[in-house]
């Protein structure tokens, strides 16, 4: 059994001025430019091509065609995709070209649409996964309402097959206006989702800061719903795992294992490499949408991902640093971590021997770490005194003095790393503020991270005090999102936060829906997203979708 997916390759083209009216049909110059750009030049190919001009007119107006190419009009990009799907499925045409922005100043957005058949039985969970994110906008409130009404007519008749064929994110208008809305739709009552969508006036988007979670946020199959479905994410995960050689392959196998992994996800040998890969790949993915973060903050191991994005270390060096942490952590006797609903000051009296404050996360959320036996004693005392305590899934006593031998060994390894100063605002949990050049360049600073306390709360304070920000958590679960939501700057609405993934494991389809929610949030914030980056198919079990089609001239 197979199903269809629309492969969309989008490029912005510069079209020379149209010749004076009357000499050729409207848009002829643009159609020719687009056909040339996609190499659709010889006459059999042109005969198999249908062109859709997105005109914004409703109903579609007839078009005389251009030479031997069929040309039709469509009122919106999404209706053009629906019409294209119909013609490609019944086999009348092989290629559809959707042109938007013709006759307007600026580039013409040209999308080449082809059909691919993908097996459906590989992944039963994704076969039913036909939910797509529709994004639309208007120049004002009235325009947005009219756009929505037109869109309503299109989606009302869209069947499951059409939804399945659409790309994950469907931008419905070529030129985004300031009034924005988004709706997660599938064939079950799509108009209700459209009607319920809230419109936002987004004239001043807040800059984006990325948050990268660390140990404790891992879970079985975390983010695996994006792997082999989202091409940029897939490529980035593979890049990181490939840097780990044979071990990377074993990590991937355990991550995707249908039943029990050989090594459990909470083991430091799985948790940290996979968190690194997933955090990094989500960061790459968000940036591929055209988002340029202005600040970065990672929690614990997440700070290495932030360092890679800030240019402090190369990706291979960051992976090496993470692996050295893991390797030397294994030589430390087993320990653990606790999360306690109390302040750092309340917990100080409970600290014994090598049990230390591992992290200050939020006002009344503090983590402790230490060797197993000592930590269990502290846990008993805390519970006896009525404190609320949760055991963090960790096998090593990170951020406690028990890690000192590992920190020393790691520091020796880190002297070989080429550190550079950060090229964007990098906030550090170890100083609770902006990372200085001196710290960034110090092997000791990075090595001490495994014994020292993480002051996440203070670092977040500094980040949010610098500027009102839209925080995006690039990692599994919503650990850092929860801390941020309770921050006064976010509660008051001055800043905001959106997670990329679900709060708890809910399966692959939930991973994808959550990601689409992050896209929608960036859109309604007013960020101009790179439409071309969304146009890849939301592959149903397609093995390792290529980031760009090999036949696209030049690619993007």
């Amino acid at each position: 059994m197979s199903c269809t997916a629309l492969n969309v390759v989008t490029r912005d083209l510069t079209v020379l001025e149209e010749p004076p009216e009357g000499q050729s049909p409207a848009g002829a110059q643009g159609v020719d430019t687009a056909l040339d750009a996609f190499g659709l030049t010889d006459s059999p190919t042109r005969a198999g091509t249908v062109v859709f001009l997105v005109t914004g007119d409703s109903p579609p107006s007839p078009h005389g065609g251009v030479e031997d190419v069929a040309v039709r009009t469509a009122e919106s990009a999404v209706s053009a995709l629906v019409l294209a799907h119909a013609e490609l499925v019944d086999g009348t045409k092989d290629v559809a070209l959707v042109l938007a922005g013709l006759g307007e100043p600026g580039p013409v957005r040209a999308s080449r649409v082809t059909l691919s058949r993908v097996p459906r039985e590989d992944d039963p969970a994704s076969a039913g996964d036909t939910t797509r994110m529709l994004l639309w906008s208007g120049s004002g409130a009235g325009d947005e309402t009219r756009t929505r009404a037109r869109l309503r007519l299109v989606v009302d008749g869209m069947t499951d097959d059409v939804f399945r064929a659409l790309p994950a994110v469907v931008p419905c208008r070529p030129c985004p206006g300031p009034v924005r809305a988004a709706a997660l739709c599938n064939s079950v009552n799509p108009t209700a989702a459209l009607d319920a969508a809230k419109a936002f006036t987004a004239d001043r988007p807040r800059p984006v800061a990325l948050l990268f979670p660390g140990q404790g946020s891992q879970h079985t199959k975390m983010a695996s719903g994006l792997y082999r479905h989202e091409p940029v994410f897939t490529e980035a995960v593979d890049t990181v795992l490939d840097l780990m050689g044979a071990e990377g392959a074993a990590i991937r196998a355990d991550w995707l294992a249908p039943h029990r992994p050989v090594i459990d996800m909470d083991d430091v040998r799985r948790a940290q490499p996979l968190l690194f890969a997933v955090d990094y790949a989500l960061g790459k993915l968000i940036m591929s949408w055209g988002v340029r973060p202005t600040a970065l903050l990672g929690h614990s191991a997440g700070e290495l991902v932030a360092a890679a994005f800030a240019g402090v270390v190369s990706l291979p060096d960051a992976v090496t640093m993470m692996r050295e942490r893991v390797r030397h952590a294994l030589s430390v006797p087993a320990g653990g971590m606790l999360a306690v609903a109390a302040s750092e000051a309340q917990l100080r009296p409970y600290l014994i021997a090598e049990v230390a404050v591992a992290a200050v996360n939020a006002e009344l959320q503090t983590m402790l770490a230490g060797p197993a036996a000592q930590l269990s004693l502290v846990e008993k005392r805390l519970r006896a005194d009525g404190h609320t305590v949760v055991t963090v899934p960790a096998t090593s006593p990170f951020h406690s003095p028990a890690m000192a031998p590992a920190a020393e060994a790691v520091e020796r390894e880190y002297t070989r790393i080429g550190f550079r100063s950060p090229d964007l605002a990098l906030y550090s949990g170890y100083t609770g503020g902006l990372m200085s050049e001196q710290d960034a360049l110090s092997p000791r600073f990075w090595a001490r991270q495994i014994t020292d306390t993480v002051y996440f709360r203070q670092a977040l304070d500094q980040l949010l005090a610098a500027e009102d920000t839209l925080l995006v958590e690039a990692g599994p679960r919503q650990t850092l999102t929860a801390f941020a939501r309770r921050h006064p700057a976010v509660r008051s609405g001055a800043s905001a936060v959106v997670p990329a993934l679900p709060a708890r494991p809910r399966g692959p389809a939930a991973d994808r829906r959550s990601l689409l929610g992050a896209v929608a949030r960036l859109w309604t914030e007013g960020h101009d997203l790179n439409v071309a980056s969304f146009s890849g198919p939301w592959a149903d079990g397609e093995d390792r979708a290529a980031p760009s089609s090999p036949v696209a001239p030049g690619g993007r």
């Binding site: 609903a341 939020a362 009344l364 609320t388 919503q478 929860a482 309770r486 006064p488 708890r504």
Partner: protein
């Protein structure tokens, strides 16, 4: 807890705020009755803390599993207001 006392949304949001150590005066926006605790920023540790506080303040016992399943203020209030032998007000 007396038979006439009903825990209200205002009581619950106060306890949530206190359990998480949030500042007074910075309140959650709009109608939060059906917003999930995840979306409100209350993670599992914060929820355990608030359930502990509810039990202490109102002298009631909430079954762990049912409390964990109550994922919105509406669901948690319904649980609290029935387990304290208070008739459900709907």
């Amino acid at each position: 807890m007396s038979a006439t006392t009903t825990v209200t949304l205002a009581d619950l949001t106060r306890m949530l705020r206190e359990s998480a150590g949030e500042e007074e005066g910075v309140d959650m926006d709009g109608d939060v009755l059906d917003v999930s605790f995840d979306d409100l920023g209350y993670d599992s540790l914060a929820m355990l803390q608030v359930i502990g506080q509810v039990q202490r303040e109102y002298g009631i016992r909430l079954p762990d599993e049912a409390a964990a399943d109550a994922d919105t203020p509406r669901a948690l209030l319904a649980l609290i207001n029935t387990n304290g032998h208070v008739p459900q007000t709907g």
